[in-house]
Amino acid sequence: MQLKTSTSQLREYLETKQGKTYFIAIMTLITVAVMLVFAIVPAIKSITDKIAQNEVRREYLNALTDKEKNIKELLIQEEQSQAQIQFLESSLPSKRNDEYILANIGEIAEQNNAYLFNADFSEDSVATIESDVESKKRLKQVPLTISVQGTIPSLGAFMKKMEEFPMPFVVESMIYGNKDVRSQNLPANRGDSLLVMKINYYYYEDVTE
């Protein structure tokens, strides 16, 4: 009964000029809303989604292009810097090479009127240096104890040359003086002093080789 009354009231209202105008306006609004929801918004959304995907691809492509350019430039630099790279290879070798180190320290000692009579190489380990280089775990240190006989000045010259050597020998500790030459019955003609140094030498374990 209530519903019937409401329907007839609505019909009467719609028969009025104001009712007709409002009805048409509501119809227009509904149509516009339906068109927006089911036609325009999906069309625009599909385009904006595709544009976003294109943007991601554009950035990726630019990054690849930059990377390619950088690598090509670096390859040219590498080609032009072969001498320096060879120097680096000998100064920070890619493999442990105790014989090479021994030969060099022996040669440095000899050039400075000192005599290398003992060298003791220990097990290598990951180098303990502070660095933010990504592959620093591949830098290995080899502890080495060397005993060199000579005079105080010649041992000083030996040490200076060793620290200036392109291969970075890092001194951990040292003991020297004229006490041990006699106590260890070392030949006096090689000098009255003995230098015992604990040093580290380094190599970079290269996985690309």
Binding site: E15, K20, F23, I24, M27, T28, T31, V32, A39, I40, A43, I44, S46, I47, K50, I51, Q53, N54, R57, Y60, L61, L64, T65, E68, I71, K72, L74, L75, L88, S91, L92, I129, E130, S131, V133, S135, K136, L139, I152, L155, G156, M159, K160, E163, E164, P168, V170, V171, S173, M174, I175, Y176, G177, N178, K179, D180, S193, Y204, D206, T208
Partner: protein
């Protein structure tokens, strides 16, 4: 032939519009305009979509080509990265490691050759000197260390008479301002 002309002064009697007449009129005017506008937008959107799809296709094609190039360059890249890392680490080894030759030279200047049974230890930034020398020489060594800028907190920690002209001594000091290798050599 003469045409008969006439006129009508009566107002046209228009039947009042029902709701269905209004809807019909709305369908043929406003709704049609909306539909045309929406279709126009859809057509333009379709055109855009075609262009954007073409761009997408081209990007994919270009990326595939670049990835192919990068896969060829990958070995070189690994080698170059390795070289760069090695250079950086080598530089840091030079930059962050101490240079002891200056200390050795300074100690050699301070301690005269007359000191017997000399033993010098440099461990963990601390230097210990042991030996036998006259009291004056020991005093000279002590003051030499105290006056040197390379050492600090110098102390004569032990002196013992040997019953002759020489005394045994132990001097301890700490290394001060130990230069880094790169500061001295470059």
């Amino acid at each position: 032939m003469v045409q008969k002309k006439g006129f009508n002064l009566l107002k046209t009697q228009v039947e009042p519009q029902t709701i269905w007449t209004k809807i019909y009129k709305w369908t043929t005017t406003t709704a049609r305009a909306i539909m045309v506008l929406v279709e126009l937008i859809i057509v333009v959107a379709f055109g855009f979509r075609v262009v954007v799809d073409l761009q997408f296709k081209n990007f994919n094609k270009d990326i595939a080509v670049k990835e192919e190039i990068m896969s060829v360059l990958q070995e070189s890249e690994t080698r170059l990265r390795s070289t760069q890392d090695r250079i950086a680490l080598y530089e840091q080894l030079w930059r962050n490691t101490p240079y002891f030759s200056n200390v050795y030279l300074e100690v050699s200047k301070i301690i005269p050759l007359t000191v017997e049974e000399l033993n010098i230890q440099i461990v963990n930034g601390e230097i210990t000197i042991r030996g036998f020398a006259s009291t004056e020489t020991i005093a000279t060594i002590e003051s030499g260390f105290k006056n040197s800028s390379l050492f600090t907190q110098t102390e004569l920690s032990n002196i013992e008479s040997q019953g002759n002209s020489t005394d045994s001594f132990v001097i301890k000091s700490k290394l001060n301002n130990l230069p880094m290798r790169s500061e001295v050599l470059f």
